[in-house]
Symmetry: C2
DNA sequence: GCATCTGTTATATGATTGGTGTAACAAATA
DNA sequence: TATTTGTTACACCAATCATATAACAGATGC
């Protein structure tokens, strides 16, 4: 089991539990953590990164609600990604609409977005 | 000058001023509002959609800060999109990282993302 | 059995944010 | 002159974020 590297920016305007959630999702994407792996317990992780237990618990609850982990009393928080692709595609499209609108206003082209997508996918699909 | 259509969902967990900001950005992207057009005054718009003046003012301030409008005492809030493409590309990449990570976990492929991007660009680039 | 660790829940507190309300000011407009 | 504009300054209430302390039941290790 690998060690998960979490970096919290306490000066960020982004909530700590959201930073946690996002970094864990990206950790799954780059296969730093894999299906079936366990995350540290809320108490261990909270102590490690210097935040309150409830803050970590909230991040885990969101991840559970969004279908990235399952909470097991025996194994703790286990990576278990739901595979509802249709819902995931719908979610992604909704989020892309705003981001692409912002880019479109700045004259970012369709091809430039495609290039960005390819660059990021290269980071993620590296096994 | 066209009438801008704003729909606020008061039951949404998204802040009203953010809904406003996002809808105005998307309005610019679909060319519903164009460079040089004026947005309604903060008081007019607040009355129209039934929110407080300060809420609209906050949305306009964010749009100004992000380089989508300029506030002029004569013409009000005028669409004036900054054209710092490099910064826009960097911003977009940062935001795409999280969204694509979420999709990558759900086994969404590179090509599926490209298709989504093309679909959305078709909505936006319609002149 | 016993101590420990787990997720979970409950309650409380302080700081920050979101939204509203009222009011006032200077500049621009009609 | 009267009105409208963006802007600013207060104040208020509700919700959220993060913290703190505490307790509970189930699982684990000795």
């Amino acid at each position: 089991m690998k060690e998960i590297i979490i970096e919290i920016d306490f000066n960020s305007d982004e909530a700590i539990y959201m930073q946690l959630r996002n970094q864990i999702i990206m950790g799954i994407a780059v296969a730093e953590i894999q299906e079936g792996d366990s995350l540290p317990s809320v108490r261990k992780l909270s102590e490690k990164i210097g935040v309150n237990m409830h803050t970590v618990n909230k991040a885990y609850s969101v991840l559970k609600q969004e279908g990235f982990i399952k909470l097991d009393r025996r194994k703790g928080a286990v990576i278990a990604v739901s595979t509802d692709k249709l819902e995931a595609l719908a979610d992604m499209k909704k989020q892309l609409r705003l981001i692409l609108a912002r880019g479109c206003c700045r004259n970012i082209t369709r091809n430039e977005v495609h290039e960005l997508v390819d660059e990021i996918f290269q980071e993620y699909q590296a096994e």
